[in-house]
Amino acid sequence: MTQLRADRPDRLGCVLVSPNPQPAVEVSGLVKRYGSKTAVDGLDLVQQPGTVLALLGPNGAGKTTTVEICEGFRKADDGSVRVLGLPAGTEELRPRIGVMPQGGGGYPGIRAEEMLNLVAACAKNPLDPKWLIDVLGLGGAVRTPYKRLSGGQQQRLSLACALIGRPELVFLDEPTAGMDPQARRLVWDLVAALKDDGVSVLLTTHLMDEAESLADDVVIIDEGRVVAQGSPAELTANRPDDQQLRFRARPGLDTTLLSAALPEGLKVREVTRGAYVVEGLIDPQVVSTVTSWCAQQGVLAEELTVAKRSLEDVFLELTGRELRS
């Protein structure tokens, strides 16, 4: 990942003048163990201020542990974590950051607006709780106690709690988990608005489309380590011969036969049951060969697409595992 960093004059030859030169989040060599299990294993990342960074990885990759160390909920076993230029967990950081813990949080018997009023009272210049309740579509559940809100509603209330204090940096741990498509869309719009207003956003997700559409930078982690990082465009950048033809058909086709029918240098794999991918330089002749080979096998090639790599492919290549595990 190439990044121009104001605090690295050695690389640039001069110091860039910036109103907010400190990284929003700077993690280096982070290690966290739970008993004999190493959850985070030497993780490094830097988030520039005013950007959206997505921590992408399967469940159990170490995303939440990393974020909770940044938020000050957990202590690192090794390495350094600085947030807005201060060590993570520093008391004076708390008013400056907004936190949406995974799964939300609220008194079981409290109503959404009461919860939001309580969190608003902790801030100097809070947003208007009533307005935020409406924006997040919780206006229809004003008398419902927290424990009877749906998972998605609890998530939206938690997001409201994270934003109400007008923070400089927001941590969103799986912000769209349990949300319906409209609510997800709304969260995406909110994240975009936060970024436009100069708020830094660090979010975790295991949805690659979320990372792809929201993030300036994506850090893919697996088993507590960074396996790739860069902008979504950088991560999915195509070399000319790095294309894919994907199709679905009956599971268990003999891919070696298809390989033999195709020109040299093309690879054929059955990625998951019935999902096939041909990788290499895809030209019209290749498409024709694949469809006629399928016709010979007496199968219909469905959902046939020619595409560049997605973040999911990148992840799969790097880890050999599905993102949504």
Partner: protein
């Protein structure tokens, strides 16, 4: 697509004023307790019913004036119900629903998280005692006013001690385990812990329940200062429970 006016989320961070945070937090805690039907049953209705029963029926032997002793003992029970059982159960479920973590992530200082709960509990206890006192007066209780400062002091001390014990229980175990244990302990303390009647067994006097009931009886019935012994027992339990609770209480 939802759009927002530019500058809507422009950062303007800062911590709210401490008195206001404390006020809103304590008000929230008290309001949630008063809205919870099971809590009202435990903290108001059962003590009220027992007060009437103890004052009017002579099934349980009790020193005269009967209504005075009954009032003192039911004050103790009300404090135990609210500060110990109610607080433990509320904390157990608050943890399950992640509210401690949620609030710890806000600008609310940790000490205020405790202070707000304590103030909320004191408000609830004050309301309980007021209701019980009015009922007792109707039943013929005559309160020697010289005991008022001591009664207030004992109510605060009892709330803090049993609150610390409630946090110790509710802060570390699973919510359903807390629910069961807190109710069982409440019942045991009521019956044989020196609350409903004084139990003439040595170690019972070392229980905080017996100490609180005995101390309150002195001040409520005779209007005099409680003995040093029961107060020392209450303080000791409170300090030990508080110290342990700071180590064992978990956010979730």
């Amino acid at each position: 697509m939802t759009t927002f006016a530019p500058g809507t989320f422009k950062p303007s961070p800062g911590r709210g004023s401490l008195p206001r945070m404390l006020f809103v937090h304590a008000r929230t805690e008290a309001m949630l307790t008063l809205r919870n039907g099971e809590q009202i049953l435990l903290t108001v209705l059962i003590p009220l019913a027992l007060l009437v029963a103890l004052a009017l029926m002579s099934v349980i032997p009790m020193p005269e004036p009967r209504v005075g002793s009954a009032t003192a003992r039911i004050f103790a029970l009300a404090i135990i119900s609210s500060a110990f059982t109610g607080q433990a159960i509320a904390l157990g479920f608050d943890r399950r629903y992640g509210v401690l973590k949620r609030l710890s992530a806000s600008a609310l200082p940790r000490w205020l998280l405790v202070a707000g709960r304590v103030c909320g509990a004191l408000v609830v206890v004050a309301l309980q005692i007021a209701m019980l006192a009015v009922t007792a007066l109707v039943l013929g209780w005559r309160f020697p006013l010289s005991g008022l400062p001591w009664v207030v002091l004992l109510i605060v001390l009892g709330t803090l001690t049993f609150g610390a014990l409630g946090v110790l229980l509710g802060g570390s175990l699973r919510a359903d385990v807390v629910l069961a244990l807190a109710n069982i302990i409440w019942f045991v303390l009521l019956m044989v812990g020196g609350v409903a009647l004084s139990v003439p067994v040595g170690f019972v006097h070392l229980l905080p329940s017996a100490a609180l009931a005995q101390a309150l009886e002195t001040s409520v019935v005779h209007g005099t200062a409680p003995g040093v012994g029961p107060v020392a027992v209450l303080v000791a339990w409170g300090v030990v429970a508080g110290a342990l609770a700071t180590r064992t209480t978990k956010l979730t």
